[in-house]
Amino acid sequence: MITDELEQELRSALARSAESTPLPPQARQRLLQRDYHPRRVHRGLAAGLAAAAVAAGAVAATGVTVTLTADRGAPPAAAGAVIQLASHSFRMPAGYKLTAATSPPCHAIAFSPLTDLVRQPHAKGPLYRTPRHMAGMKAAASASGGCIVALLFRPYTPAMSANRAFGGHLVQVGRYHGALFHLRLYVFETSHGHPAGHGARPVRSTLTELFIRLPAGHGMVRDLVIGAEDLSGPALIKIAANGLSS
């Protein structure tokens, strides 16, 4: 039990310590200059509005459509684009459209599984290198700056178990084993997908990555990687599980 006097001393010491460390003006400028892309509406609300718009459009078009829709139950919620990898179709969340992995906003995270674009701040060396698997990478982006990238590696013979190979937080994705990673990345702000100039300011970003090991026959496996900058782990697992069961 902490005495009142000790509480008071703690408050005083912490307050003095905090007061003596104001936010430096340059740091304030850096923090406030960045565009954080605040969302405008709730995702659920956006999906609901989109669904309502679809329904309203159907009503305007024909009454028959309304009857058919009523017979078949509620219309499906608005969903995003589909990323196709081999025989699997991964439905993206509402508002996500297919885009090139090399284009903003995906370019910053698309390389992360290969760690070529992302690097520690102030490190030397080229900003961009040619990633080995880029050709097979698919990406979808939302208007608010969110991005999801998906990549299916080539089949290979595993040298170790998925648990040892992946590390991270092990998860179950449908009937497959996977691992979740939450990464903090330093990316360099670019304009129109081109590398920023020398001395560009690194911006800290976060990435959630899901690795899933899939059987590929003849004792081989292939790894599916889905990464997103603004989706939670459970949301990624859901996308992956639905796609793998399709």
Partner: protein
Amino acid sequence: MQRVTGTASRRRFEAFAAAAADTLFRAGYLMTGDASEAEDLVQETFIRVARRWPRVAAMEHPVAYARRILINLALDGAQRRSRHRAELEAPGGQPELADESATRALQGIDDLAEFRWALARLPPRERAVLVLRYWADLPVAEVAAALGCSAGTVKSTASRGAARLAGILARDEGPAGQPAASATTKKGTS
């Protein structure tokens, strides 16, 4: 119409960020003892708040919500770091002082650098409890909610953290490994 709404929302977020930056930075600094780490934490907190902005904007205390995010980010970061390197000192390795001695140790602080140094040596969770409870002045129940533990755990962690903090301060070490003058003074007063 939609554009107007988006612009207004963005402006509200910018106003929030401008108002919260200093408080969040101080919280980050207390949690990490490092200005650049604190800045990183604030930036990441803003990113997360921006993703949930419509919900956060509707809250009564958005800054308190952001501070909770920042503290948990700091704890996550500390956990990650601890997986890669051994703790400098095993938990419980510090001598714990009785409340009276702890109070004297804290009263003897005349060097804030020494206090920060001692604070940074606390286990992250104890540090988080002290910062939320005695700097942010949150009730025990809110600290418990922020850290995902029970009120009893908050109280015991706070007590343990305060004692450990005082124990560190009472040792004959300073931030640079030099004998701390105030620690010597404290010894004289006890």
